[in-house]
């Protein structure tokens, strides 16, 4: 049994590649693969329960969580990078550490933002028992970064809308989702349409 799949994209695409591999395997196997040893099949972990019962629930929770994240992140940048630890209310320590670098740079450069960023969830990428991943379109068209003199320091080439893949985890039972990772999506721009 030979399986070929190719993909491009990101870390979080592994899951979809896996799914694609399964589909491709099924397609390629329609003919003659049956007699071959299928190999050991991983059995589902009996203790694992999905984070959400339905895709709709997961999407709604992710949308809410990203909204909170964006609001806090906007507020920190609006304040010139002050009190970045606010982000820990809406993000994991790991994600906070990553963002902190930017906030510190903003503070060192005496830059602050104006305007609010918006987003729309494009599609659910996946749900596991620990994580929700979604495609979303971040819209920065109303956001500017100004220096001390009030001059914009944003690159004139900056796009307004960014396709991203955001991951969410639940820090504790019954807690709201928080952002655990954000990748820029380098594949097909699903925000264009």
């Amino acid at each position: 049994m030979r399986v070929v799949t190719y993909g491009f994209g990101m870390r979080s695409e592994m899951r979809r590649l896996g799914a694609a591999a399964a589909v491709v395997a099924a397609v390629l196997c329609l003919g003659a693969c049956a007699p071959e040893d299928p190999g050991p099949k991983p059995s589902p972990d009996p203790t694992s329960t999905p984070l959400f019962a339905s895709d709709e629930e997961a999407l709604a929770a992710a949308e809410e969580a990203y909204g909170r994240y964006q609001a806090v992140s906007d507020a920190i940048l609006k304040d010139g990078g002050a009190n970045p630890e606010r982000l820990l209310e809406v993000a994991t320590q790991d994600q906070f550490e990553y963002e902190k670098n930017g906030y510190e740079r903003a503070a060192a450069s005496k830059h602050h933002s104006t305007g609010a960023s918006t987003f729309r969830i494009d599609e659910l990428q996946g749900i596991s028992d620990t994580q929700v991943d979604v495609y979303l379109c971040e819209n920065l068209s109303a956001v500017d970064i100004l220096d001390e003199t009030g001059t914009s320091v944003v690159s004139p080439d900056r796009p307004d809308i960014f396709p991203r893949v955001a991951s969410f985890v639940r820090p504790a039972d019954d807690a709201s989702l928080v952002v655990s990772n954000i990748d820029e999506w380098s594949g097909e721009d699903f925000c264009e349409s």
């Binding site: 589909v23 390629l28 990772n181």
Partner: protein, 282 residues
Amino acid sequence: MRIIRIGTAAAVALLLTGLLVFVSVVPAWACDSYSLTLGEECPPKASIVPGGVELYDSNSSGDGGGGIGTPSPPRQRPENVSLMTPQERIAYLAEQRALAEAEGRVWRDPFWFTGVPGAPTAPITLADIASFRPVTGGSGMEPNGWMVTGLDTNFFSAASVHVVDGVLLGTPAAVRFTPRSWLFDYGDGASARTSTGGASWAALGLAEFDPTATSHVYAASGTFTIDIDVEYGAEYSLDGQTWTAIAGTLSVPAARFTATAGGAKTVLVARDCLANPRGPGC
């Protein structure tokens, strides 16, 4: 529900029946909110390889990677090397290199110098402008992630002349980077140094699998790692003064692709060419 935007992968899989191996290593990009809002180019963060092994940043390679079931080490995010002082940078890179070696990963410094940095009389050398990070622009390969043996695979890099602002010797300064040459290491023992970064087939007005200045024909099947490096010449300008050339060139990794070559026995297209005009064979 979970099979989304995999049309190309499925098409390619169907196209290349009879091939072994799946490999995909494409850098993942991540921006912090500040960098994203500024419109900065952000560094690659992680790559994927088969078997669930995560690689950390573009400087890693899968050579020492583990197999299926290898637990992922904790996420490590690249520091912003360009913001460090030279001393910090050297220490950071040494630390990363040691860490990578301890974990069996291969480490390449984000920058390395070729040529002789700085004539004796020149006050500024390449080492002085280490904090000015050239951007390498986009790069690509066609077909994306795979090759057909005996046919041309097109690689390209959009690196171009650009100016990076920063501080040099405590003075606002700008460094202008000009691509002098591109080094394509095709991973099968062949390499090329070109004076052009090449372009996509579409941009060149060519058909798929046409030869280009930067394309390469793989003779044998296999999985190959392709590296594109850009050699930049650099000039600096202090406080808006005239441009002064800096001796030597700066070699910057622009892209790494890992892709599989195989023979195409049967050409199948997952969707028809009307629905997917960019699909293989359309």
